[in-house]
């Protein structure tokens, strides 16, 4: 599939600007007369608000206004249900309690906004915190996922009779029958911990209301500029074209920037209109930790039934999923867990149940991986337990049960986050595992290296796991491709960019069609004035979904080039060639025209045009898949554990990944490596810890440990496999979350192996102290 531009490891268009510090980020925006907002946030996780007295704050010099929930009158209402539950799953329960913009009557998580202060500077706004008297009646907090559902538990939402947010059962085949026939049944309780998205740049929001033109401009770090624009317009009673949302450069997204109903999104446009002055709010790290969104904690009761030869007969998984204080994002995360638990293995009988629970904690929405790492962790842990029980090698039991290409497309019978039944479109899962084993030298490690190192007293272990990544989900994205009179190309699409390299990879897709160099292609993402249809950047869908729309638009522009040039040159289209910024006649290359000139000709300002001809070398196109494309891969990891201090070093990390066609292999590698570092973080460093009162104990980088360069594996190898998806012309599957998904499962397996299988670990986040505890308990 690789061409002159497409498929090449081209350096990124955006890097010169980013690396020389000339890129504009949201905090660089400074408007005349701009005011600053700060949110007074609750110190309590669960409490009744008695009274908030801010009269003293209003007297502080530089404070312009203070608002609490009451001050917003009818404008205060719970936010939209950003992702509704799939109606296709019969008999499921879903209780929508969407996020409120600012706490009214009751606080439901620590960090929830109580008041918003508008002042001449952020410093003054924060000084005013001390002026506000909050009378509060603390309530018992709901934290434990299982206790939350017991009778008598305090209620997060008192209008519900329990803390159950959702209950969803999906089943294919009949697990109980399979279990009855099984030789071995293994059940385990498995815990997955909570992680932050922790982008380098926090969230931010700047809004300006221009009274005379009745136009609102919003700069936001959103992953969903169009949905944000639409919800702001609807809330403010404006037309969509009266609100322009612009995303400047964004320092990472990872999921939590997808929300459109956070306090700033809702309240600041209203306040800006009222005060007739621009307002800026930049989230600080503490706020990000306490009150954006985060993810992952689940408690699983999982079971696997097998024959004595190690063939899987069925899997059952009943799990509690923490949705935090509200559930504006529906069931995306736990549905991803359901679809990813057994997706790469042949599991004829599968029973999976979500019990989604409200707690007095920050709201849960997707974080890179978005439910998938949990499913993979559970399944891979079951496989390891089964291998041990059956005395099989972990690689062997996996190989035995992996799906093979002949089985695709395979309908899974499980409804996913995109509301349709999951279908595995393509892939070669065994090949992924084989290649991984080959690169890491699995057999040699097991048979020669490990025994030798063990004899020397070293504690080395290997983990080997497989995974899938459901990507590139609908509904759709669109794009417009325009060749300008300057001979360069402008590409506009509705998604936004948080560092994925879209300015280059999208340009590569277009360059291949229109024959204009990648450097001369300007990609605009996330500006609703440039393109205003689409859903956003999430679920590893940018490259595959927006990329396909861009490809379709570029193909149309190519057709327009040929059609117009054919008329001008009076040559049939097949005799024409395009490249190097021009179009020419194959048999007579001197008969040529620059594409910029052709673009001018495509926009006549006098005379007549033929019926049906659309002006410009411009085209708009859309793409929406029937269901998502599924990427897959395998990971092997060798660790070295110091048996005295329990420090773990990752010596060697191998990932073989298949995301179909690669647009830019270098950008692809970056994505995979980034995911791996997040996976290592999730497995060994990053952990959000709440105490019994719902206080977040890890609310700064002092305590929330991000993986560092020095924590990355000493040796990393990346292998590619390409099985193209039939779902789009380019054959692209997503890759954005790949590395994060399998890594914790591989890490835990490797640690167990390093400890000679003395202990079994059924939780996804370890640290040396925890490993020490396991060994102590053993003694």
């Amino acid at each position: 599939m690789a061409g002159k531009y497409f498929g090449q490891p081209i350096l990124r268009n955006e890097d010169a600007q980013l690396l020389s510090g000339k890129a504009r980020f949201i905090d660089d925006i400074d408007l005349p007369g701009m005011l600053h907002a700060a949110f007074l946030r609750s110190d309590f996780a669960h409490a009744r608000i008695k009274k908030i007295d801010y009269s003293a704050a209003l007297k502080r010099s530089g404070v312009v206004a203070v608002y609490t929930a009451e001050d917003f009158g009818d404008f205060w209402r719970p936010g939209p249900l950003q992702v509704p539950p799939p109606t296709a799953i019969k008999g499921s329960v879903f209780n929508a309690r969407t996020l409120v913009p600012i706490a009214k009557d009751k606080v439901r998580f620590s960090g929830e906004p109580l008041a918003v202060i508008i002042a001449e500077s952020r410093y003054i706004a924060e000084d005013a915190f001390d002026d506000i008297i909050v009378e509060i009646e603390p309530l018992d907090a709901v934290n434990d996922l299982e206790k939350a559902l017991e009778p008598g538990a305090p209620l997060v939402h008192e209008d519900l009779d329990s803390n159950l947010a959702a209950d969803v059962v999906q089943e294919r085949g009949n697990y109980e029958e399979a279990r009855a026939k099984a030789d071995v049944v293994i059940s385990r309780k498995i815990l997955v911990n909570r992680n932050a998205g922790a982008a380098l740049e926090n969230r931010g929001f700047v809004v300006e209301w221009e009274e005379r033109s009745r136009q609102m401009t919003v700069w936001a770090t959103t992953q969903a500029p169009i949905p944000l624009r639409n919800t702001i317009a609807a809330r403010m009673g404006l037309f969509e074209n009266q609100v322009r949302v612009i995303t400047p450069f964004i320092g990472g997204g990872f999921g939590p920037k997808i929300m459109t109903s956070q306090a700033d999104d809702v309240l600041l446009p209203w306040i800006a209109m009222k005060l007739k002055r621009p307002i800026k709010w930049i989230e600080d790290r503490r706020e990000n930790f306490l009150a954006t969104t985060s993810e992952r904690d689940q408690v699983h009761y999982a079971e696997i039934a097998l024959t004595k030869e190690g063939t899987i007969l069925g899997v059952k998984d009943v799990f509690y999923h923490n949705t935090g204080a509200y559930d504006p994002y529906g069931m995306t995360v736990p549905l991803n867990t359901q679809t990813h638990t057994v997706s790469n293995y042949r599991v004829p009988n599968f029973y999976t149940q979500i019990k989604m629970v409200f707690t007095n904690q920050m709201v849960v929405t997707p974080v890179r991986g978005a439910g998938r790492p949990q499913g993979v962790f559970v399944m891979e842990r079951l496989m390891d337990a089964a291998a041990r029980e059956l005395n099989m090698d972990p690689a062997e039991i996996r190989m035995k049960n992996l799906l093979i290409p002949d089985e695709f497309p395979l309908r899974t019978g499980i409804i996913g986050q995109d509301f349709v039944e999951g279908v595995l479109d393509s892939g070669n899962y065994k090949k992924n595992l084989e290649k991984t084993m080959e690169i890491v030298g699995y057999e040699k490690f097991r048979k020669e290296i490990q025994p030798k190192l063990r004899a020397e007293g070293k504690h080395v272990g290997i983990g080997i796991v497989t995974f899938t990544e459901g990507t590139a989900v609908g509904p759709y994205e669109g794009a417009r491709v325009t060749i300008g009179a300057n001979g360069k190309v402008n590409v506009a699409t509705g998604i936004s960019t948080q560092g994925q390299g879209h300015f280059t990879s999208f340009a590569q897709i277009v360059a291949e069609q229109v024959g204009i160099d990648v450097k001369d292609i300007n990609v605009v993402t996330g500006d609703t004035a440039h393109f205003h249809w689409g859903a956003g950047t999430f679920a590893s869908r940018g490259a595959a979904v927006a990329g396909s729309a861009i490809h379709n638009a570029a193909v149309k522009v190519r057709e327009k080039i040929f059609s117009l040039a054919s008329k001008i040159f009076e040559e049939p289209e097949e005799n024409l060639e395009v490249g190097d910024g021009k179009v020419w006649v194959k048999s007579n290359p001197s008969q040529s025209m620059l594409l910029g000139d052709l673009a001018l000709r495509a926009n006549p300002t006098r005379g007549t045009i033929e019926p049906g001809v659309e002006p410009g070398l411009e085209a708009t196109a859309y793409y929406g898949p029937p269901y998502g494309a599924t990427g897959a891969g395998a990971v092997a990891m060798i660790v070295n554990l110091d048996p005295e201090t329990m420090q773990v070093k990752v010596e060697h990390f191998v990932i073989v990944h298949d995301c179909g066609t690669a647009i830019n292999p270098m950008i692809l590698e970056g994505q995979v490596y980034g995911g791996i570092s997040m996976g290592i973080g999730n497995a060994f460093y990053e952990k959000m810890v709440y105490d019994d009162n719902g206080q977040l104990l890890s609310a700064s980088f002092m305590d929330y440990l991000m993986p560092q360069a020095t924590d990355m594996p000493a040796k990393m190898e990346l292998g590619h496999l390409v099985t193209t998806t039939p779902l789009n012309t380019l054959g692209i599957k997503g890759v954005g979350e790949a590395g994060a998904i399998p890594t914790p499962a591989a890490f835990v397996q490797a640690v167990e192996d390093a400890l000679h299988g003395q202990v079994e670990i059924m939780e996804s986040n370890l640290n040396p102290s925890r490993i020490f505890e396991y060994l102590q308990k053993k003694q």
Partner: protein, 293 residues
């Protein structure tokens, strides 16, 4: 994450700074590298009324030999200066081992040797190292000046004998005796992160290869750095043996430390780490003392 309003003064001499500190009393706070103070102010945990910035006083940054053959280090000497000074590393190999473990390079470029000691973070390295190296600290205020031994300087977590108008001015490290060896052992969650537990050992042998002096200091397992008394009792006058190191390690872990449980580690694990690290550090330090390195 913005500090409360504060006044800011930038004196250009020690005298001027001491005047300012005397005038401000409890309202004033010294700003050295700012790597601990500024984050604390941004979190509004520290709310000083005024800062007295020492960064414009060049006379406070130096490393120079003393007449006794040791080194004197000016309080404002950046950690990275100490780290890369060949004389320091030659005379005090312990500092060569310790310095790269303090935070990250960018922070060491700003953080100061004296600031770190004055800050008295029980998880910080330099307070403990000042004890291990038996440093002498020179303290001045407008009305008085005094020398305090590092062993007498720390009174609690983030607490020292310094009065509000006092300035730590100089740290003097006495020269090592012949046949002295040292070792620093630290375990932290990540490179550049604070120690979960660490041990600095400085030991000296006599002519018969018996232990003459043993300073074993524990970091991050109590309210202040802890100079082990048991190490001295067990080792001094004896031939250093693996059994003795084990005995010291067990005695320290059992009796001399008070580690806390936090979200990163249990007290039990920290206690276990101390035992492991004491043994490791004594083994290496005595080995070096023997070899004369």
């Amino acid at each position: 994450m913005k500090p409360v309003p504060f006044n800011y003064f930038a004196p250009t001499s020690v005298e001027e700074a001491l005047d300012k500190l005397a005038e401000l009393g409890y309202d004033g706070k010294i700003l050295a590298g700012g790597q601990s103070l500024v984050p604390a102010m941004n979190f509004r945990m520290a709310r000083p009324g005024a800062l007295v910035d020492l960064n414009n006083i060049p006379e406070l940054a130096y490393i120079k030999p003393t007449s006794e053959g040791g080194l004197a280090i000016g309080t404002m000497t950046r950690d990275s200066k100490v780290e890369h000074d060949p004389k320091v590393i030659e005379m005090f190999p312990l500092l060569g081992e310790v310095m790269p473990n303090i935070a990250h390079a960018q922070i060491r470029n700003r953080g100061t040797f004296g600031g770190s000691i004055a800050h008295a973070d029980p998880a910080g390295q330099l307070p403990a190292i000042s004890i291990a190296l038996d440093a002498n600290l020179f303290i001045q205020s407008k009305s008085k000046e005094r020398w305090v031994k590092a062993t007498d300087f720390f009174t609690g977590p983030f607490m020292t004998v310094l009065d509000p108008d006092d300035m730590l001015v100089e740290i003097v490290l006495p020269p090592h005796l012949p046949h002295t060896g040292s070792s620093y052992q630290q375990v932290s969650r990540q490179r550049g992160g604070y120690a979960q537990a660490a041990v600095a050992s400085v030991v000296t042998l006599d002519d018969q290869n018996r232990c003459k002096e043993a300073r074993v200091v524990l970091i991050s397992v109590g309210d202040t750095p802890i100079l082990s008394a048991r190490a001295k009792e067990i080792l001094v006058g004896q031939k250093p043996t693996a059994e003795a190191f084990k005995e010291v390690a067990q005695a320290i872990a059992a009796n001399e430390i008070d580690p806390a449980t936090d979200i990163h580690a249990t007290a039990d694990y920290r206690r276990h780490l101390v035992e492991v690290l004491v043994e490791r550090s004594l083994t290496i330090a005595f080995d070096r003392a023997k070899k004369g390195v």
